[in-house]
C-alpha cells in the first residue's frame, strides 16, 4: 500500500464508478468500479457470470448501464452504441464477430472507415482511394510486425491467429485512447495464442492501454500489468501479477479467499 500514492500519479485513461446493470431479476453489474491507467495492460478475470462481459460491454458502448459513471480522460462520457465509443477512440476486438471473411485484409482494416478519393468521385459516389488504403494497411500491419504476404487476400484464407491479428491491427490503427479485447486467444492454439499475446504487448508499447478479458490464467499472468478480479458483479480486488500466485488469484476469483487475506504487496 505504501506505493499506492506514487502509482495514483499515473493518469487514469478510463474510469468506471459504481456501474449497475440489471437484467430483470439478475444483477449483472452491482456497483462495479474499474480503473485503467496510461500505458498498461489491465486483465479482467472472473468466474462465469461474474459480469466481465457486461462490464466491457458497458465500456465499449454495447450496453448502457442503469446507474454509474464512465469517465474518459477524467471527463464523463455516455455511450449509446459501440459507434459512440469508437468515435471517442475506444476500439473493441470481439471474439469472433470481427471480420468479413470474403473481403480482403485491407478492406477489413478499413471497413466502415474507408478512405475516399478526393474530388467529385469521392464526394458523389464515395469512391475508395484503394491505393492509399493498401499503403496504410501495409503500414499498420508492419507497425505491429504482422507478417502477411498480401493485403489483397480474403480474410477467410488466413489462419485463426492471423485473422485475430487483422482484428487487433484494425483496433490498434484506429484507437486513440483504449483497446478492449474480449477473449482474443480463446479460439487459438498455443503457437497462435502466443503470437496474439505478443501483438497485444506491441499495442501497449505503442502507448495504447489495453483491457484484456481472458480465462487463460497463464496468458493473463504472462502479459498483464495489473489484474482486475471481478466477482458477483463487483470488483473484488486489483492485484499485481508479480506479487501474487496464480492459485491465490483464482481463490479470490472463486470466493475461496477474501481479498483482505492477501498480503498488502499483492494489491496493485
Amino acid at each position: 500500500m505504501n506505493n499506492s500514492t506514487q502509482q495514483s500519479q499515473v493518469p487514469l485513461v478510463l474510469q468506471a464508478k459504481g456501474l449497475i446493470k440489471r437484467y430483470g431479476h439478475v444483477t449483472a453489474l452491482d456497483g462495479v468500479d474499474l480503473e485503467l491507467r496510461q500505458g498498461e495492460i489491465l486483465a479482467v478475470i472472473g468466474d462465469n457470470g461474474a459480469g466481465k462481459s457486461s462490464l466491457i460491454k458497458a465500456l465499449s458502448g454495447a450496453i448502457v448501464p442503469d446507474e454509474g459513471e464512465i469517465l474518459l480522460d477524467g471527463k464523463p462520457v455516455h455511450f449509446k452504441s459501440p459507434i459512440d465509443a469508437r468515435k471517442q477512440g475506444i476500439e473493441t476486438v470481439y471474439q469472433d464477430l470481427a471480420v468479413a471473411p470474403s473481403m480482403t485484409i485491407a478492406e477489413n482494416l478499413f471497413l466502415g472507415r474507408e478512405i475516399l478519393k478526393p474530388g467529385i468521385l469521392g464526394t458523389l459516389f464515395r469512391a475508395l482511394d484503394k491505393k492509399k488504403m493498401l499503403e496504410d494497411a501495409i503500414a499498420h500491419m508492419q507497425d505491429l510486425k504482422i507478417g502477411i504476404r498480401s493485403m489483397k487476400q480474403p480474410v477467410e484464407t488466413l489462419s485463426g491467429g492471423q485473422r485475430q491479428g487483422v482484428a487487433v491491427a484494425r483496433s490498434a490503427a484506429f484507437a486513440r485512447h483504449v483497446v478492449i479485447m474480449d477473449e482474443p486467444t480463446a479460439a487459438l492454439g498455443v503457437k497462435e495464442g502466443n503470437m496474439v499475446l505478443e501483438l497485444i504487448r506491441r499495442v501497449r508499447d505503442k502507448g495504447l492501454p489495453v483491457i484484456l478479458i481472458s480465462h487463460n490464467m497463464p496468458h493473463v499472468f504472462e502479459i498483464a500489468d495489473r489484474i482486475h478480479i471481478q466477482r458477483l458483479g463487483r470488483r473484488a480486488a486489483v492485484v499485481n501479477p508479480k506479487n501474487i500466485g496464480m492459485s491465490d488469484a483464482v481463490a479470490v476469483m472463486t470466493g475461496a479467499m477474501k481479498p483482505e487475506e492477501l498480503g498488502s504487496e499483492a494489491h496493485a
Binding site: 470481439y94 464477430l97 468479413a100 470474403s102 473481403m103 474507408e114 469512391a127 477467410e156
Partner: protein, 318 residues
C-alpha cells in the same frame, strides 16, 4: 480434375464463362445459324429485360436476401408507364418517371419490411409479388396497352455496327452493368453491400448502418425493375399485364449461374450478365434446334440447380 473444378468454382465469373463457352460450342455444332452476328443481336435483345432485372436481384442476393417480386413489379411498372399516357394523356416522360417511381416504391416497401419488421426477404417478396400482380391485373383490367408513344419505345430502336444490329437498350444494359460493377468494387457503399452479406453483425460493429444499406439496396433494385419495364415495353411495343411471369426465376438463375452466392457476400455483377446471356443462349440455341419451350424451361431448371449445387460445394470446402 477435382482441383481444377474447385479452382473454377472459387473464381465466380470464371465458371460462368466456361459454361457459356461450352454452350456456344455445343449450339454452334448443332446449328449453322447460331454463330451469326444477327443471331447474337437477337440473343442480346432477349437478354436485355432479364439482364437489367438481374442487376437488382444481384444487389439483393449479395446482401444474403432474395427477391421474388421482381417480375411482377416490372409488369406493374410497365403498365403504369403505358397506361398513364394512354388513359390520362400524361406526358410520356412523366409516365416513365411514374413507372420508375412505383417500382422503387415497391422496392422500398420490401426493404422496410425486411429492416424494420425483420421479416425474411423470401416471405416479404412472396407477398409483394402477389400484391404487385393483383394491382397489375385490376388496374389494367387484364388488357394489353397498345397505344404506346415513341418515347417509350426508344430503347427498342436499333443501329448497325459491323454485321450486327444492336438496340439502344442493349447499350443501356451494358452501361448499367459496367457502372454497377465499378460501384460495387470501388466505392464505400458498394463494399458495404458485401460486408452486410458477409456478416450483418460484424458490419454493424464496424459502424456500417446495416439497415440503411439494406433499404437502399431494395429501393435501387426496384429502380432496376422499372428500367427493365421500360426496356420490356420498348422491345414488345406494348404494356403487357402478363409480362414478367418467368422473369423471377430467370433473374435468380442468371445471378446464381454468374457465380454470386445465395448465402450473400460473394459474387461479381459482371458474372450475372454472363449468367443472363447463358439463359438467353440456351433458350435461343434450343429454339434453333427445334426443342419445344417446355423442355427449355426444364433445362433452365436443371441449370439453376447445378449452379446452386456448385455454390454450395465451393462454400463447404472454402
Amino acid at each position: 480434375m477435382k482441383k481444377i473444378f474447385h479452382q473454377i468454382a472459387t473464381i465466380p465469373a470464371a465458371g460462368a464463362f466456361l459454361a457459356l463457352a461450352i454452350a456456344c460450342l455445343f449450339f454452334s455444332m448443332q446449328s449453322d445459324r447460331f454463330l451469326s452476328g444477327q443471331n447474337f443481336s437477337l440473343i442480346l435483345q432477349q437478354v436485355m429485360v432479364v439482364g437489367v432485372m438481374a442487376i437488382g436481384q444481384t444487389l439483393i442476393i449479395l446482401t444474403a436476401g432474395i427477391d421474388l417480386s421482381c417480375g411482377m413489379v416490372m409488369a406493374l411498372s410497365s403498365i403504369i408507364m403505358t397506361k398513364f399516357f394512354d388513359a390520362y394523356g400524361l406526358n410520356p416522360y412523366l409516365s416513365i418517371l411514374c413507372g420508375l417511381a412505383v417500382a422503387m416504391l415497391f422496392g422500398w416497401f420490401n426493404g422496410m419490411l425486411v429492416t424494420r419488421i425483420k421479416l425474411p426477404p423470401f416471405i416479404v417478396t412472396l407477398g409483394t409479388m402477389n400484391i404487385a400482380f393483383a394491382i397489375t391485373q385490376v388496374y389494367s383490367g387484364a388488357q394489353t396497352v397498345t397505344n404506346v408513344p415513341a418515347a417509350l419505345t426508344f430503347f427498342g430502336n436499333t443501329f448497325h455496327i459491323g454485321g450486327t444490329t444492336l438496340s439502344y437498350g442493349t447499350l443501356l444494359l451494358v452501361a448499367l452493368y459496367v457502372f454497377v460493377w465499378w460501384f460495387l468494387r470501388d466505392t464505400a457503399p458498394g463494399r458495404h453491400v458485401y460486408a452486410v452479406g458477409n456478416s450483418p453483425e460484424a458490419a454493424r460493429l464496424t459502424g456500417i448502418p446495416t439497415d440503411r444499406v439494406l433499404l437502399w439496396v431494395y429501393t435501387i433494385a426496384g429502380l432496376f425493375y422499372g428500367i427493365a419495364a421500360l426496356l420490356s415495353v420498348a422491345r414488345t411495343g406494348v404494356g403487357d399485364p402478363q409480362a414478367g411471369q418467368t422473369d423471377n426465376l430467370d433473374s435468380i438463375t442468371a445471378v446464381v449461374l454468374g457465380g454470386t452466392s445465395l448465402f450473400g457476400g460473394r459474387g461479381v455483377v459482371l458474372g450475372t450478365l454472363i449468367g443472363a446471356v447463358i439463359v438467353g443462349v440456351f433458350r435461343n440455341g434450343l429454339t434453333l434446334m427445334g426443342v419445344a419451350s417446355v423442355y427449355q424451361i426444364l433445362v433452365t431448371g436443371i441449370l439453376v440447380i447445378l449452379a446452386v449445387a456448385t455454390d454450395q460445394m465451393s462454400r463447404k470446402r472454402g
